[in-house]
Amino acid sequence: MKGFLQIHDPLKPKGSVVGIDLGTTNSLVAAVINGKPTCLVADEGGSKLLPSVVHYAANGSVLVGKHAFQVLPEFPTDTIKSVKRFMGKSLGDLETKKLGAYKFVAGKGVVRFDVAGGQPVTPIEVSGEILRQLKRRAESHFAGKVEQAVITVPAYFDDAQRQATKDAGRLAGLEVLRLLNEPTAAALAYGLDKGVQGLYAVYDLGGGTFDISILELVDGVFQVKSVGGDSALGGDDFDRAIVQKLLDARGITEPTNSQIALLLQQARAAKERLTDVEQTELVFEGVPFPITRADFNAWVQPLLAKTGASVRRALKDAGVTANEVKGVVLVGGSTRVPVVRDYVAELFGQPALADIDPDEVVALGAAIQADLLTNEDRRDEVLLLDVIPLSLGLETMGGVAEKLIPRNSSIPIAQAQIFTTFQDGQTGMDIHVVQGERELVADNRSLARFRLSGIPPMAAGMGRVQVTFRVDADGILSVSAKEETTGVEQLITVKPTHGLTDEEIEQMLLDSIDHAEDDMQRRLLAEQQVEAERLLLDGAKQLFENGDLLSREERAQLEQGFLRLERMKKTETNYETLKAAITEVDGLARPFVEKIMDRAIGKAAVGQRVEDF
């Protein structure tokens, strides 16, 4: 009945909508069900957390989640974890090289992992696999299609990283309704669940990133005032601080990779234990290394101070002071660490809110936004006004970055600026788009370069080019340039430098659809082959044990049936034909099975009588 209603409900032409937290360590999918945001089961064993790990096997199959995580030690270069850190990056980006022992395909532009089982894969495809898995899980929950999603991104993600995330959604067959900043999602979960009004701060400390957002909820408008953070600061740094102290204490100056890996694992466990106990220890090379909570707190103080600097800057950008903030929302696993909570409480002069699970809060907020955007009944409930995290600008003379749209501008936004030609007879103008806060282009992120040509030759200063930046509600930039006297115009969506082109995405989509068909056929056939094998084994066993129940003709007929199935199991490629053959042989065997059952019951009855006496 539910399915029938959905087909005829014009308001829900595309099935259920979901919110997805595509995390560095774990990913979650949530939906509003009966008016309540709820995280769905996303992985084996009923877990709502899907480890963001993807394994590419030599036979071409792909594992996602816990199963991929389990084979990680065995196949370290074919199993990609923390792929989020590679989104929108190129091999040339400094941070990329520090992120694990992967094999990369040399080349410019987007990063490509050399993995088993076929073509190298980009971070966009790897993220696409995670999203596809979440989509499948949600579809099995709803027993129906899921084709639209709100996907969250760190507030601090730049244009390339956002574009990459959106492309990953497309690859997974999802229409991305909105890219939503993670802290904004968290605030939305609190705001709408708890009915808050006023100024709020969201302190989001994950494994590898720190985000701070200042938001205000007034009269149905959720307005982000400012965002800030550090894209390379998180709980992993706490682990590193512990390891460094141990190495210092033992006088080890050149640890091996495996020593570091082992120590990091232990440090992480020790950190987690210190949430509940005052003292613990690491054991390294058989010698214990005791750590008190006080030691740990002191070691991470410099890291906390860094988050404090970001918080102060965000408050200043928002034009507010810490004591105007009515509540502080904690997000991210690292906010479970007691010293982090104490630090945040001190920073804002009040204990932080943590009554929604910090692991789930982002996905729940994304589900709410997905519902708000698609549910006609809720359209008027709340409007979200977000900001861009980093200034957008252009390269001008002398390699100086001129900002066109400053950070923390509300989106959508558009801004135009006129540039004049500086040489006589100049017919073209190079446009270099950059993102960041620094004075010099070289210190900022280069997003794209393009050339406006076709300017008619005239005296220097006479040619006037109007460059317009438009940022949409996803925080994604498009740039157009127009020569004023002739009207020559060029429009680009900023993506080539660190991402994939539209053509590449289309090709991947087509490939994945083809493969999806193949994969499904292969899987269904494999299932029937297993089924046939089971029937044949059972049959052989029963013929051996209970063959005396059959007449010679009956036995010969059955054996012929088994022989036919045996041959078909090896040669048949159509799973439906094989399935039909299995059903046929199964029917042939039924009288035999009944006789066996009778004998078994007879034996049991005999047994009972023996016992009775």
């Binding site: 007034v218 009269d219 408008v221 600097a309 006609e376 501008s409 959508p412 949409d472 509600a473």
Partner: protein, 174 residues
């Protein structure tokens, strides 16, 4: 349409920022593309996005007293928003000398990594900046464009100085 016209306001340096932000919220609720029904046409969406973008840009300029003053001056025919435009304004020689000296002192403080010294200088500049802004606002109220132009010319230099101290502060803290 000017930023003021978008909000149906008369151009003025004196705005109640709280009332402006309330108005911005109200108008955003009316025109944001997210408020359109699911079946809205692409053209309708684009128009909504454009109007939303215009509102966001306008409130950004009008909310801030300094940017608002520059904008009112611009409406009176003097643009100071780019380096090229500002270079055409003749600033008094003694002011230029003074600001040059101060910038040199700031560079020295930065080189020595003396944050407190830089902050003390910023405090003086902030006061001077406030005075110049009030002078400019006063002149704009009286339609005295020449006085407002020079006063806002000073604000430009002061603002640049203060931004540099901010950047220095951030650099030391991070």
């Amino acid at each position: 349409m000017t930023h003021f016209e978008l909000f149906n306001l008369a151009p003025t340096v004196d705005l109640d920022v709280k009332a402006l932000e309330d108005l911005h919220r109200k108008l955003s609720l009316e025109s944001h593309p997210d408020r359109l029904p699911a079946g809205a046409e692409a053209r309708e969406r684009r128009l909504a996005a454009e109007r939303s973008a215009a509102l966001n840009e306008a409130v950004k300029v009008l909310r801030d007293p300094v940017r608002r003053a520059f904008y009112v001056l611009e409406l009176k025919g003097v643009k100071l928003d780019t380096e090229q435009a500002a270079a055409k304004v003749k600033m008094p020689m003694d002011f230029l000398e003074e600001i040059m000296e101060r910038r040199e002192a700031l560079e020295a403080a930065k080189a020595a990594r003396k944050l407190e010294l830089a902050q003390a200088m910023a405090k003086e500049i902030r006061e001077a900046n406030g005075q110049s802004l009030r002078l400019a606002q006063d002149a704009l109220r009286k339609d005295d464009v020449a006085t407002a132009t020079v006063a806002l010319g000073r604000v430009r230099y002061y603002s640049r100085f203060l931004e540099e101290v901010d950047a220095f502060e951030e650099e030391l803290l991070s």
